[in-house]
């Protein structure tokens, strides 16, 4: 059933410089959350400066005209607040949770860094080091991270989704202060930002203060178009990653539609049927039934451009990769070849609805969910009837979309082959992979 609009009394307005503002009061506790969504992510990068969106996220905490280095978080924490941020392929979001009487300070801090961020060589060198450390942690020494990176590079030939959000290490070493300054001018203008404020505040005060503090920031230039083309995939693709591990692992990426496509909601249900909850098909069949995997995960995240429907299998030690792979394909084929039983469709819809409601309980959750909805679908109101649109999906829709998406020619597979880390000599890598293939491993 649709959400009651009276529970989401959003006040919205747009400043002359293009900044979009959304206010959502909730005075039940003396706290607020604010999100600043910038429509910039790794999608807006180019080879040579991959990772700059994420690196820039770090740079945003290093001082501005009014507040010097380290002052952003020092002032915020001293006022009873905390901040964080994240960068995705499509967007960068900054948020603060804080005691409600810190709102004037938070608005001043946020508007000041949008107006006049300080970018200097010292802070760039420092954040470059921190981000490289983050890359080592999340990608170079993490099996999931390195496989995810390999999958993007395998599945996309031309689209900017090809490179990792954290960027290639060589590009992190290369990004210059001039690159950062140009990036800031282009993408951190008010007309590329939407602010969501939720919690305990006076609406009139928030409206006036936001207008006063942000109103004088000039609008930015027209943004360069993103080169979103991607050739049609004509057959299954495969990539091998060799790394010391206890057991093999597999990561699958099936070419899937963008978040605003009609079938994206069907894929949300497919994701739930396959991998959400102990009763989902892959957990039941691959983890419990056949005991092939320690873990089976399914993920379909909405993206601005066509993305990937992902399945990740971490195999039990001793399980042969082809056996796990065949078992997965059997489950995916079944979903495309047989109608989904009514109770499974009901289960998926109920889980999706409950997750939606749970995401709206906190001030941070509301600001984030509604802001993200607006960024992805262009209008936060689409959140309100989202449940009705899930309800309208039929078993036939699920079968049709599963049949289409899980076709072999849309498939990309990354296989983790346990073994010593290849040295820089490419011959070692080639020999190791040849040995794997000769031993019967799939290509």
């Amino acid at each position: 059933m649709a959400l009651d609009p009276s529970r989401f009394p959003v006040e919205e307005f747009t400043l002359a410089n293009g900044l979009r503002v959304r206010l959502l009061q909730d005075r039940s506790l003396p706290v607020c959350s604010i999100y600043s969504f910038f429509r910039v992510g790794s999608r807006n990068e180019r080879p040579g400066i991959t990772g700059i969106s994420h690196l820039f996220e770090h740079m945003m905490f290093n001082g501005s005209r009014k507040y010097g280095p380290k002052e952003f978080d020092r002032r915020l924490e001293a006022a009873g607040g905390s901040s964080n941020a994240y960068t995705s392929n499509d967007m960068t979001a900054y948020y603060e949770d804080f005691a409600s009487d810190a709102l004037p300070l938070v608005l001043d801090l946020e508007s000041d860094r949008m107006a006049a961020l300080t970018i200097d060589d010292a802070s760039l060198a420092r954040e470059r080091g921190v981000v490289k450390e983050e890359r080592r942690f999340r990608t170079d020494n993490d099996i999931d991270g390195m496989m995810d990176e390999a999958l993007s590079a395998l599945a996309y030939l031309a689209h900017p989704y090809r490179w990792p959000v954290v960027g290639w290490m060589s590009d992190l070493n290369r990004i210059s202060k001039a690159d950062c300054e140009a990036y800031f001018r282009a993408y951190y203008a008010p007309n590329n930002c939407t602010i969501w404020l939720a919690g305990d505040f006076e609406a009139g005060y928030a409206r006036e203060e936001i207008s006063r503090l942000y109103g004088a920031i000039p609008a930015g230039p027209k943004l360069p178009a993103v080169p979103v083309g991607e050739p049609t995939q004509k057959g299954p693709r495969r990539s091998l990653v060799q790394f010391p591990a206890q057991a093999p692992a597999l990561l699958f990426g099936y070419r899937a539609p963008a978040g605003d496509a009609v079938d994206s909601l069907v894929l949300d249900l497919v994701e739930t049927v396959l991998g959400h909850g102990q009763g989902s098909r892959l957990i039941r069949a691959l983890v419990y039934g056949q005991e092939l995997c320690v873990e089976a995960r399914v993920g379909y995240g909405w993206r601005l451009d066509p993305g990937l429907f992902q399945v990740s299998l971490r195999l039990n030690p001793g399980v042969e990769t082809p056996k796990a792979e065949a078992a997965l394909y059997a489950e995916l084929d079944k979903l495309g070849n047989e109608p989904l039983p009514a109770e499974e469709l009901r289960r998926a819809k109920n889980l999706v609805r409950a997750n939606l409601l749970r995401s709206l309980v906190t001030t941070n959750g509301r600001a984030h969910m509604m802001g993200q909805m607006e960024m992805m679908l262009g209008d936060w109101r689409k959140l309100l009837d989202l449940d009705d649109r899930y309800e309208a999906i039929t078993a036939g829709d699920v079968q049709r979309v599963a049949k289409e998406i899980f076709a072999p020619h849309r498939r990309n597979v990354v296989e983790l082959v346990p073994g010593e880390l290849p040295e820089s000599d490419p011959e070692d890598v080639a020999q190791a992979i040849d040995a794997h293939l000769l031993a019967g491993g799939a290509a």
């Binding site: 978080d73 924490e77 001293a78 009763g279 289960r347």
Partner: protein, 455 residues
Amino acid sequence: MSALADVSLPPLRIEKEPGGLTLAAVEKRGVPLFHARISFPAGASTDPAGKTGLASFTSDLLRRGTLRRGADAVDALIEGMGAHLSVEANMDECALGLTVPYELAAAALDALLEVALEPSFPEEEVERARRQTISALQSDLDEPGTVASRALAVLGYGEGHPYGHPLAGRTRDVEGFTRDDAAQFHAARYRADGALLSLCGDASRDDLIALARARLGQDRFASFARAKSTTGPLSLAPAAYAIAARRGLTALVIHKADSTQAQLRIVAPGLSRKADNWAPAFVANAALGGGFTSLLVDAIRVERGLSYSVSSRLSMNRHAGLSLFSSFTKNETLRQLIDVALEKMRGYAASGPSADALAKSQRYLAGLFPFSLQGLEALAEQVSDSVLDGTGLESIEHYRSIITSVTAEQARAAARELSPAREGAQIVIVGDAAVAQKALEGICPVEVRPIEEFA
């Protein structure tokens, strides 16, 4: 900036039932949801000797079949309502919880009680769970952070301490688990006295209490609700939780081949959740390594760019706790990270927080505290913990004034007494052994062990 007022809890009611079960009902309006959570004194600290991991193993089996239905049917029942059943065993308790749209409250509560109180432990599920747990323990060796956590429990508390073993157990113990082990553990620990059922949702507290009593009053649950159990004490004598004193500084290196980065932990005894001086400890820790502008984050991440993540924290169980430093860095800067961490923590132990740092930490903790009461699950857990830990609701309602009234002297004492780097501290490094040994040269004695020993 004005003083932060204490936070009022939503209307709630706490009742002690005749059989010893505690009921807590919290009225939470706004979104039409219902959350139920039941906690039992069935944590890993009660793992029998030679059976580490049994508490966790038993909790994993609860949903794998009940007296009324098999595992698939249990999942279908719960997930058909749109709920995810969480089953989490920690050192002190096992808690089961689920959240559903409010109109399903009665059915959801029945399902929660069925899983918690009527598990059947089918033989084939026990066999499978044993195989799966062993595979998962082996797979965990690929996660350096997880290996560090497993080692810290043993090192920090000491072998033989009730908390001195990994939560998920050791492979050699898990290999011997039987159906009887799980069934006997359940019979002994999943009992009314010491258990707490909390309900939180879009209804009045009286309606929530009435709902709990109605569901527990069904014949199927009557024996649990009415009868006190007599099987063993709820917890051990306080002396059993004392952590043996250590001298000097020592290091354990856990060798993981081909690591380009090393995980670093430094551990010393900390505080229990019942400790009277929790507020000075929270404030002192926030200034040391809790917030983003804390001393350690500033020195290691902001000033030197040595790591993406650095923190100090108090890992608190009900009867004892640890004080922890945690970070990682590339192999080339491991020695520098160790040196900076030890120097900063020792300096802080001697001086305590500055006046500015003290005020900032107090405001930081007090300002953010209400966020921990926003979600239904978080609210139910806070109320449940305050009752079971014995800290009382006033530790929630007066959190802000308690934190802001911590004096400089109290914070200094906490900084000194709880420093992760004080006398007797232990260093744990997960990474390449040769790199770690070189980085530790001249600092302290080093023991090296292969990562496989930590499965």
